[in-house]
């Protein structure tokens, strides 16, 4: 190992990046673009859901219930059917995605502190909307229940909705608050593994790798010369993404920079390792690109990045334990939203460290072996 050689390689890498018209935008505009797209599209809040109200009670209490729904901002009353049949038509015809039915006698029941029932019917054809709507409805009903009966008073139940559910930590259910922290990790994974594999494959494709290996340069020199510049770039990308998330999307950051940053750095080992593995599997840059995409898909699906993993079939669920992204997502989300400490997150850290280091070392060992040919 020679610091002079490593320094020269790093200098070379930065000169090349600065002259690559395609690379610079990819490195710094793409993370922002992804953040904005994911932030607004995936993370957009479900608001102004059309609500059909069938109020057969018409008491002060029933009106308060309807007000509770509309004043939340999540629902607007779009239909007031007068029978069950009309209510069904409203749902079938798409005039409403959520319907509530307030049965006769609800006001009496509330006044005499007896159990009461509200029917909530949700159009399940759009699973994302319906899931969110169910959550909102549960929250609203729980609130009303507390107002009517006082805290701890049970007895008001909604059809199919557990009124006891309360949405913790992210009370406004802003999806963007869970999306932005996850994106930090995801962008780090994509960009580091992509750029790293591209950089190595490019050298092989152009024949410069062979030329390098007639110089006294060692494998450690070469690897550090590649890893260090891309690590620096990844840190810059992370900082940029973090700032846009916190300043533009107003995502609260309640945790510790050290725990978040440390977790992400540890996770980057996995990303770098994947990059090395991809670079060894590919002869051309297009191949590397496609291999990266191929590897990203399952990570995206099985990590809880966009879709919950708890509902997966058992064998698929077991597979998620192998994916380092799964652990880092828990770490960054918990840090952003709950301000969890390292002590609370150490099992995640341990698992992630184990898998990240394993992937990195595997990449490293294959890398050293293959470069000679």
């Amino acid at each position: 190992m020679s610091w002079r050689r490593i320094r020269t390689l790093i200098w070379k890498e930065f000169v090349q990046i600065s002259r690559d018209r395609a690379m610079l935008p990819i490195l710094f505009i793409m993370p922002i673009l992804q953040l904005v797209l994911f932030g607004y599209v995936v993370g957009s809040d479900v608001r102004n859901l059309n609500l059909a109200v069938l109020d057969q009670d018409n008491t002060v209490q029933s009106v308060r219930i309807v007000d509770g729904f509309t004043s939340s901002g999540y629902f607007t009353v779009s239909a007031r059917p007068s029978s069950d049949a009309q209510l069904k038509d409203a749902l079938d015809g798409g005039q409403a995605v959520v319907a509530i039915t307030i049965p006769k006698g609800l006001g009496d029941a509330v006044r005499s502190k007896r159990a009461a029932q509200i029917g909530v019917i949700i159009d399940g054809s759009d699973s994302r909307t319906s899931g969110v709507a169910a959550g909102y409805a549960a929250g609203i009903i729980a609130d009303l229940s507390n107002q009517f009966y006082g805290t701890g008073g049970a007895a008001m139940t909604a059809g199919g909705v557990n009124a006891q559910v309360r949405v913790l930590y992210n009370p406004t259910m802003r999806a963007v608050n869970t999306m932005v922290p996850a994106l930090l990790a995801f962008i780090l994974l994509m960009s580091t593994s992509n750029v790293m594999s591209q950089a190595i494959v490019k050298e092989r494709e152009k024949g410069t790798l062979e030329q390098l290996f007639v110089t006294p340069i060692g494998r450690a020199d070469y690897l550090l010369g590649k890893l260090l510049p891309y690590t620096l770039i990844a840190v810059a990308q992370l900082t940029l993404t973090f700032l846009v998330g916190v300043l533009w999307f107003q995502v609260p950051f309640r945790g510790s920079l050290l725990v978040t940053g440390g977790g992400l750095m540890l996770f980057m080992l996995a990303a770098l390792g994947i990059g090395m593995i991809v670079s060894l599997m590919s002869r051309t840059r297009q191949q590397a690109q496609q291999t990266s995409m191929f590897l990203q898909m399952p990570q995206m699906m099985l990590s809880g990045f966009m879709f919950p993993i708890d509902a997966l079939p058992k064998w698929l669920y077991l597979l998620t334990f192998l994916i380092p992204l799964r652990y880092i997502l828990v770490i960054v989300r918990a840090n952003f939203l709950k301000g969890s400490s390292f002590m609370e997150l150490w099992p995640q850290f341990a698992m992630m460290a184990a898998f990240s280091i394993a992937i990195f070392l595997f990449g490293l060992s294959r890398f050293s072996k293959r470069l000679a040919d």
Binding site: S2, R4, R5, R7, T8, L9, K12, V15, Q16, R19, D20, K206, G207, T208, E210, Q211, L212, F213, V214, T215, P216, I217, A372, D373
Partner: protein, 330 residues
């Protein structure tokens, strides 16, 4: 680094070197020594194994079996001792296209540990003698083919190696640049640098101290250029005729004609040494068959002719098939 006083005599000592790719023996049991200070030319058809041999000697490819000593150091066990002494120019341009000429030189100077106090003077001198001074700030990808090759050579020379491996360095380079390139190599030769060059061009092979002919992974002939030509059993007569295809048929039928080849718009005819005044025989035969004969003159044996005659025999003796060697070597 420039110590040329090692006790080892040969620059390269190749011992039963073999490289197998899948089931093909790209280099098949090659043994030879190359003395210091020599310009050694390796010729042979595409796919003969020239590049594979060079890449093993330059320590970028591991041999399947056998070994080679470069200045006494094994490429197998001591590549790190070989690398500082050699320069290697691969067949394809392999510098950084997005770095400038000067940056490429600096980059390889730094990697090869050229002392900082020598860097500026060396790169200035190399730029001058390769004629690249005025292009020093240009990105390498925007240089012409010939200039790229000269830059590649300059980059390998920055560390003042004792041995240079050049793999078809002038392929795709215009004739003027090719001449210039060889002028540089002659200069290196005078400085005592050993040059190992693979080339498809016979005129380039002619400028080497020694040449070896390689085919199907084996070296089947090795001699000096004049030695190669001297081995040809006969002399060459040049024939210019209006229809050379038709003329070839007539000439082949003559008993004194050993073989012939087309060179440009002329025929080069190899006749037996003792054939006496064969020129007259050729002229009469062609005129008799109704061809217009422009001239029939004695000429020099060249390498092309030498290989065409010598290879079939040599190939047979090393029991390689001789099927299409002639066509490719021609």
């Amino acid at each position: 680094m420039t110590d040329r006083t090692d006790s080892v005599e040969a620059a390269i000592d190749v011992r039963a070197l073999t490289r197998v790719f899948r089931n093909v023996k790209a280099v098949d049991d090659v043994t030879m020594t190359i003395p210091r200070g020599e310009v050694f030319g390796l010729v042979g058809p595409d796919g003969a194994g020239k590049s594979t041999l060079i890449r093993m000697l330059a320590t970028v490819l591991a041999p399947t079996s056998g070994d080679a000593l470069v200045f006494g150091h094994s490429v197998l066990t001591d590549p790190h001792k070989v690398k500082p002494r050699i320069g290697y120019m691969s067949q394809a341009f392999s510098l950084y296209g997005d770095l400038t000429v000067q940056e490429n030189l600096d980059f390889f100077a730094e990697l090869r540990g050229v002392p900082h106090r020598d860097m500026a003077s060396r790169s200035k001198r190399l730029l001058e003698f390769s004629g690249l001074t005025e292009f020093s700030k240009r990105q390498a990808q925007f240089l012409s083919g010939g200039m790229k090759q000269k830059l590649a050579l300059a980059a390998t020379l920055i560390s003042e190696p004792d041995l240079l491996f050049l793999d078809e360095p002038t392929t795709g380079v215009d004739p003027v640049s090719r001449r210039e390139f060889w002028r540089i190599i002659s200069g290196l030769h005078r400085d005592g640098i050993t040059v190992f060059v693979a080339t498809p061009y016979m005129d380039e092979a002619d400028r080497c101290d020694e040449i070896a002919f390689m085919t199907q992974g084996r070296i089947i002939l090795r001699d000096t250029p004049s030695g190669m030509k001297g081995r040809v059993p006969g002399r060459v007569i040049e024939v210019a005729v209006d229809d050379y295809r038709g003329a070839m048929r007539v000439l082949r039928a003559l008993p004194c004609v050993h073989s012939l080849e087309v060179s440009g718009d002329m025929l080069r005819v190899l006749v037996a040494k003792d054939a006496g005044a064969c020129e007259g025989t050729l002229r009469d035969a062609l005129a008799g068959a109704g061809f217009t004969v422009h001239h029939v003159t004695p000429s020099q044996t060249d390498l092309e002719m030498a290989f065409a005659t010598l290879i079939p025999t040599a190939a047979k003796s090393t029991d390689a098939s001789d099927g299409d060697i002639l066509a490719v070597a021609g």
